[in-house]
Symmetry: D2
Subunit: 335 residues, 4 copies
Amino acid sequence: MSELPKAPDVVRSCYAELVVTDLERAHWFWVELLGLHVQHREDGVLCLRGSDELTHHNLVLREGPVAALDHIAYRVRTPEDVDRAERYFTAVGSPVRRIPAGEGTPGVGDAVRVVDPLGFPVEFFHDISRAERLIQRYDLKRGARIARLDHFNIVVPDIPAAYRHYEALGFGCSETIEDEHEMYAAWMYRKQTVHDVAFTGGAGPRMHHIGMATHESHSVLHTADILGSLHQEGFIERGPGRHGVSNAFYVYLRDPDGHRVEIYTSDYYTGDPDHETFRWNVHDDRRRDFWGNAVIESWYKEATPVLDLAGNVTPISESAIDESATRVGADGLGD
Amino acid sequence: MSELPKAPDVVRSCYAELVVTDLERAHWFWVELLGLHVQHREDGVLCLRGSDELTHHNLVLREGPVAALDHIAYRVRTPEDVDRAERYFTAVGSPVRRIPAGEGTPGVGDAVRVVDPLGFPVEFFHDISRAERLIQRYDLKRGARIARLDHFNIVVPDIPAAYRHYEALGFGCSETIEDEHEMYAAWMYRKQTVHDVAFTGGAGPRMHHIGMATHESHSVLHTADILGSLHQEGFIERGPGRHGVSNAFYVYLRDPDGHRVEIYTSDYYTGDPDHETFRWNVHDDRRRDFWGNAVIESWYKEATPVLDLAGNVTPISESAIDESATRVGADGLGD
Amino acid sequence: MSELPKAPDVVRSCYAELVVTDLERAHWFWVELLGLHVQHREDGVLCLRGSDELTHHNLVLREGPVAALDHIAYRVRTPEDVDRAERYFTAVGSPVRRIPAGEGTPGVGDAVRVVDPLGFPVEFFHDISRAERLIQRYDLKRGARIARLDHFNIVVPDIPAAYRHYEALGFGCSETIEDEHEMYAAWMYRKQTVHDVAFTGGAGPRMHHIGMATHESHSVLHTADILGSLHQEGFIERGPGRHGVSNAFYVYLRDPDGHRVEIYTSDYYTGDPDHETFRWNVHDDRRRDFWGNAVIESWYKEATPVLDLAGNVTPISESAIDESATRVGADGLGD
Amino acid sequence: MSELPKAPDVVRSCYAELVVTDLERAHWFWVELLGLHVQHREDGVLCLRGSDELTHHNLVLREGPVAALDHIAYRVRTPEDVDRAERYFTAVGSPVRRIPAGEGTPGVGDAVRVVDPLGFPVEFFHDISRAERLIQRYDLKRGARIARLDHFNIVVPDIPAAYRHYEALGFGCSETIEDEHEMYAAWMYRKQTVHDVAFTGGAGPRMHHIGMATHESHSVLHTADILGSLHQEGFIERGPGRHGVSNAFYVYLRDPDGHRVEIYTSDYYTGDPDHETFRWNVHDDRRRDFWGNAVIESWYKEATPVLDLAGNVTPISESAIDESATRVGADGLGD
């Protein structure tokens, strides 16, 4: 890939835009229940953020006919990195669309949207509206007390291809699930946490989940407790539990459209230049849940469809990994 | 005292009725900020409870001209114990008033109110309205996530007299602050916790604080954080901190009328019949704060006046303990 | 039962004595891992307690050939209540053995052991050695930071019979699992918590678990995390999770002999004289796990055999409830 | 400063080397009490780290005659950045000493030590031994459960000069304490947290404290509780409390030589390229303690002397800020 133009300097995962089929129901889930802050509301669109986020949003909910991922978005270091993203993905052969400020997602300036080589709709932007500092507004913290977006997790049929794509974009790799033959999953980062993006093996492109960070484990427990209180425990899919990978404490929920969100706390610093990849063996039962609890089937199998740049649902391909041949079982394909 | 009638069988401290000068301000503090549940509201009166409380209230706020304690109230085991209370305090020579169901505090049935020998207005009742179970309504828990009333703390000039009075009422003593000559404070219980009532030495009768229980220490921290968020940190008087006495984690707040409330968590079981009193030496700096942090002056000196049965403020007497003679300093007189 | 002698006044569940097949392995689990305090050690016997316990022990481990429950033990209010226990169970027709001080479990004085009508070996005692106060020895708290024994959970084929037996002993009932035809489980108490004993429907008599109290939920999480760290996550059987019944936060472990222990925190006060039973419907998925997580099969099916007064393993009877007829499934039989 | 050579690319604050007068006492404090992991021990030297640290140490304790800071150390991005540091500080006119691998601190490779323009002994290195991953060794976590070094806090007479020096080294500024005339304190970072270094106004150069990160607030409380348990509460100087600046939850301890350490948790992400400085007004009582609790005098006044490259104690200069003229009081000079 040495002849490719210089890749954009990605700062971090910043927001996801999801299509939801009922904005009021989505408001109930993401705002009333989880406690995200409503930064902006306009016809058919909600822009939400966590209390530590200092830009306009971490999540955009847009009402539409089919529940899907519209795009994930990375913030880049400079305005010129938006141009770099355009040149880079054009050279890669991806569909690319430049979106001038004011024509895209509310609050976001000049941006480039691409369908990356993995089939995902991805936005790169630098300019975004600043938002009022809520870091110390404990009076406003409710529900899961979400601080910020932490990461995206995407389902891809070919993990090594995903790894190479993000490696070329300058991402480091904090952890993997492997055996001597295959890589089953990987966690990659730009900011100094365990990940900005992770790959789950399976039919794709699909979005597995978005990870939202909270500060302490009792907020994860409280999130689950609220759902039990409302007899809406069906929205809890998996956990609370401790991840082996990342060491984070988590719970996975499904929103009313089935979009999965992880409430996530307490990973570790990865900012040293020689930070080494930690490799989990696919046969270590602790990799997905450090306490050895079984992973529920739906967590491996279900995921959110993704849209292309024209707004159509992208067809999916089956996974290239033959898990039955590796005798790993369904568990080997996920996280 | 052997000729006295049998004392009523007290189950526990149940509620306090406070006079506040501005009910809307009090609502802001106790309901919006601390998150107590409004069980009942009528003209000039608010009945509030914690989420674990299964009776009508733990706190009654009544609007009136002078901020004061109207009365503290103990629940007794049977309806007959209300009669016993009437006979007992009559024999003791206390002012006694029988209050038929419907004529006293909302939700409370047949009751007796007395001015006890320590000068405090105290109610004994058995019948009280049941309230909807909110124990598992995590969706409603806000602010300090108060579970229930834990205890009263009263300021009295004569600690041994207070001790003897409550001992005669069947209270056990979990802890004291002492030296070889004096008892400076004591914690006494009927329910199986460290206390239902505690005595702080000083000019009295005055109410030092009411203690409200929450389940975990992070809720105490969150309470203080909310006040900082609102730039209302002046309502925090002392703490958060760990008590030596009781081992509980605490913060003391002052409501808009200066009434003091302690948010309190994690004391210990005292229900064994031979539970021994733990005696702190007044010179052990950990007794009031286990981490040795100094106690703020106002915490020792300021307290809430109490009303008599006619609703007039009770005059106070100075403390009998001469703390300068014991060289203990102001610290020896309180909690 | 009106002609029965007066039942002993039970204060609380105090300790269990377990037979373990390898005392050093048991020491690793209960002391090194869970952090119980070793109060006494003699040949083949370990006496352990939590940091809030002020008597000699909460758990006795005795090495023997077959892993079993030797007995559970309730503390009674007075020495005379030991005599009452002897008369009561004699009248009931139970095997009864008086054990003079010094001849039974170390630290325990005069005691009576019976095989109760449910088939369980149960001790009633009043006198027990006091132990050094460790309540504020945070420097010694390790592992699960266990405070005290909270409860016993026993497996019985006939839940209503167990209910009636303990009701006759003066226990209150905090919660049940029911439907219109059957009672599937019940939680009964003497001390002012949700329970001292609970009944799980199934083949019995067997001991389901002992419940050990810790102060905050992070200690439950830490317990599971330690097991993951050591790659001993197989000792975690179920959880961590939130109970519907009791509202407590829990994790269930199995010791090296398969004895089950629950690390348990945060239930609620039950000391009011008219405390009402809260009745869960057997079809409410939240009763066993408030978040709706499935209960693992072994948790319903496996339990510890119990010994008779001669030290022989007691045969078990199948459950009288026909769960397939009630269409409840295995879940309906447990907790 | 435009003619200066390119500054080294600093990754983060990595470790401090302290001179202690009694290594066994220091071992008690830092290892037995706080729970730091002993990575290396040789005659008169202890190398310690937190459980998340993947390099050789976060703290070096070296026995010597006078308690002092030997040096603070920043890790740089590449080996060439060590050369850059040498050229940069030579050009600045600082004393500079090159320390080949094997001749300096155990575990550290090729390094440069300088006395920076603020008078502090500072090391820049890239190569350092890797250490076994303990991130998920919950079985080893004790005391304060320290994860890693978070920051240095240094006392300087001239805050703007310190600000300019670190700005030239490429540090961002997350927060300050100011009024319209003066800057009283500043927090500056390279890694994506609130700070790697902060400046407290006062007589300097002296080291105010080192900040050690832990994951959750209950570990801060537990640290203080352990000291109370041992009746060593005198080692607690300030807190636990919530900072206004940084929003972190903290406690300050003094080690047996008076070196100050902060146990610190829960600040926020600062990695965006346009992260804005948050400016506290010196008159906002929440800046130092978000709950408005007063700061103890010793915290402002006492600090650790620093050594020069020859190992002699550096004389100190008084602060240039005249706090009485600004009517800020002692409080204005700290944190």
